[in-house]
Each structure stands twice: as C-alpha cells, then as structure tokens.
C-alpha cells in the first residue's frame, strides 16, 4: 500500500491569490493541489498526497500558535505517514510557516517532515537543526528540481533508510556529526589536503569551524548628548508578577514596558522571569540587569539626550539568543519608527 502524505502550501501556490489573499485561514482539500501534483508524480505510486492544507502566510505568521493548532486538528484524521511543506524558496514568511508547522507535525504526530527552502530563507537558520530542509533555488523556477528531491527524501524517511547524506539527498546539513569509514586513512587525507592547500587548489575541511553570524556594525552615534537611547534585555526583567507571562527560558515572546516616569528599577516593582540563573540578585536590584538608574543620572547630567520611554524584555539563554530573531525584528522596527538612535542590550 502506498504511503499517505499530507502537503502544506500557502495561498499563492493554491491559486487563491497573492499578498492580497495572505490573510486566508487554514483550509483542507482532498488530494493534491499545486506543487503537490508534481510531488505525486515524483512519488511514482510509492506514496500519495491524501490532502493539502492551505493557509495564508500573513494569517499563519500573525497567529502562529492558533494556526498551528488549527492545522494539526485538520490533518489529524488523515493518519498520514509523512508531511511535506512548501517548498518556500526565498519567501520569508512562507518559510517560517513551513518550518513551524513541519516541526509541530514532527513533534506531535511523530511522522517525518520535509520542507524546501532557499539557503538564505530565514526559516533555514530557525529550523535546519530539527528538520530536513531541501535546498532549493531562490524562486519558483526551481520547482522542477526541488520537487523530485523533496519526494525522494520523504520516501527515504518513510522507509526508515538510515543513511542520509546532505550531499546526496540534497538537504541542508543539520549539523549532526556522524562517523563513517573513509576510503583513505586520516594521514593520507591530511597529506592530500596539505598538497592542495599548498597548490591553492580547493579542498574540503572535514570539520568546518563554527562561523560567526555577522552583520555590518551600525554607524556610531556622533553626538551622545542628543541621542535617544533604548534599553533592551534578554535577562527577563519584567514588572512584578510578570503580566505578559514571559516564559522562564528561551521565551517565545517579549514584553514592552513603559518607564517614562520610572527613575530606577526596584525589587518592589520589578523582578526577573529568567529561569536560567539564580534570580535573587536580579530580584533584589533589577538595575543589576537593566541599568536604568545609571542611565537616568546620565540623562540628567546631559551626557545622553534621552531614554526611550519603553524598554523591551525577553528571556534568552546563551545561544538561544539567536532564535529570538523573529521578534527581535519586530522590536527593531518599533525602535526605528520611534527614532531611537542607539540600543543598550543586556544579557545574562
């Protein structure tokens, strides 16, 4: 019997419409729609798309939690063997949606999930560890090449073929280090590599050093005494009793708090939501995490122009700071609109 597969696409590929229809709510259609037709062809009868879930990109991204839940409910009755989302190419919100829903399906339904994206799609960084993301070109012209790869990988995953290799199966490496026996000994490989390096020929390192994710530094502020400075923290400082219920680790949201009339953060009114460290010191004196007291004094002394009337707070543990990218863009946009000149971001 052929495997049953569920396919997720956005409103565009379902032929509902472009940006103007991105608000549509999740719907389910029997059988394959749009790219699913190509996936079915590539399955060559070994598997079949039993239904297609369609959701508008805006709707999904603005109601991630609700949309995920709705979709999971919709597809549950189909008892599928695998889930395919996209491909999303370089569409950022479509990529995020594909990644989010594929991950949720994988975790709650315990079936393999595959999606496809262009390497620079923000969804890649967010989900490549958890998901098999087939690398595609940056636009729909790559559909012809993407679908057979996604189909083949899905078939492999469903049949539990263990040996997957990103260079063969076309997915973006997930960063799992796996042993295997090479053709040559390490010493032979080392000497080969050295010869290539000496001759300026290309070679492939067997362990790429972790690279720093970089962005151009913002321009320095010219006149501090006129600058509007905002405070942002991943140390989880929130008003007492955590009104926004910011989670204690790797939070999925952030809080915006007015500090216009606040001179310093005291333990009476503020606390930390951060669960990653001993909270006593931060609860006693929240200025130890968000230095409002010092900044107010500097404002009074005219060293800085002004303090942005809101501070933004979330909880990030260590490297998880990275995954807060989605809402950091939102915060960034607000700061930009409000004419903030510089940001002091504190992390624990």
């Amino acid at each position: 019997m052929a495997y049953k597969v569920i396919h997720y696409i956005n409103q565009f590929f379902a032929n509902i419409g472009g940006e103007e229809m991105a608000h549509v709510t999740p719907e389910i259609r029997e059988g394959a729609v749009g790219p699913g037709l190509g996936i079915n062809k590539a399955f060559k009868g070994e598997a079949e798309i039993v239904c297609t879930v369609i959701c508008g990109d805006s709707y999904f991204n603005e109601n991630t939690e609700a949309a995920t839940k709705e979709i999971l409910e919709l597809i549950k009755p189909y008892e599928a063997d695998a889930f395919i989302a996209g491909p999303a190419f370089n569409a950022g919100r479509y990529g995020t949606a594909c990644g989010t829903i594929a991950k949720a399906v994988q975790e709650t339904m315990h079936i393999p999930a595959v999606t496809g994206m262009y390497i620079e799609n923000p969804g890649v960084d967010m989900f490549k560890k958890e998901l098999y993301i087939v690398e595609t070109s940056n636009a729909a012209v790559g559909m012809r090449k993407a679908l057979p790869k996604m189909s083949a990988l899905t078939l492999k995953l469903m049949s539990n073929e263990a040996d997957l290799d990103p260079t063969i199966d076309g997915y973006i490496p997930r960063g799992i280090r796996k042993n295997y026996f090479a053709e040559l000994t390490g010493a032979e490989r080392a000497v080969d590599m050295l010869v290539k390096k000496l001759n300026d020929e290309s070679y492939t390192t067997e362990y790429p050093m972790p690279v720093f994710d970089r962005i151009e530094p913002g321009k320095a502020i010219k006149d501090l005494s006129k600058a509007k400075i905002a405070l942002v923290t991943s140390g989880g400082i929130v008003p007492k009793d955590n009104p926004d219920r910011i989670e204690s680790s790797s939070a999925s949201k952030y809080g915006t708090y007015n500090i216009e009339s606040v001179l310093n953060l005291t333990g009476d009114n503020y606390e930390t939501a951060h669960g990653g460290y001993d909270p006593v010191y931060a609860n006693d004196e929240p200025d130890r995490v968000v230095p409002l007291d010092v900044l107010r004094d500097l404002e009074k002394e005219g060293v800085i122009g002004s303090i942005h009337p809101y501070f933004y707070s979330t909880v990030g543990n260590g490297t998880a700071v990275k995954s807060s990218k989605e809402f950091s863009l939102e915060i960034a946009e607000k700061l930009r609109q409000d004419g903030v000149d510089a940001v002091i971001l504190t992390s624990t």
Partner: protein, 76 residues
C-alpha cells in the same frame, strides 16, 4: 536579538557575561559584564561601590556606541 536590531542600522552595545556567545550571535560592540546572575552589579559590594561599577560598564557601552568600528570589538 543583536543582529535583528542592528540590521535596521541602529547601533547596539551588547552588555553580556559570555563574550564568546555574544560573538557567535553576531554582536559588534561587545561590553563584558560582571557575572551571570548580576551582569551590571556585584552584591558583595556596598551600594555606592556597586553603582560605580554599574556606571563604569554603562559608560563603556556608551563609549562603544560612539566608536566607529569595522569588526567585532570588545570594549573593556
């Protein structure tokens, strides 16, 4: 977070306890803090001393924000 904000062009001074992590998340202006439970303070110090310490770190951050840089820089 740092990258997200700085992608709009607003300079960010990242006061953090774990400099290597700050580097890996792509911060450009890095200001080392005191320690994890209290990045901008030290409960062992008396109040005024602690304020001074905090002020020193904030001043470092301000110095970072007014310094033109091309590459990741740690401001001590």
């Amino acid at each position: 977070m740092v990258k997200g904000i700085e992608s709009t062009g607003i300079p960010v001074a990242h006061i953090c306890t774990i400099v290597p992590i700050s580097k890996t998340v792509g911060a450009n202006r890095i200001v080392p803090a005191v320690a994890i439970p209290h990045p901008l303070g030290d409960p062992k110090l008396v109040e005024e001393e602690e304020y001074k310490l905090r002020r020193k770190i904030v001043n470092n951050a301000l110095k970072a924000l007014t310094t033109e840089i091309d590459d990741q820089t740690v401001f001590q």
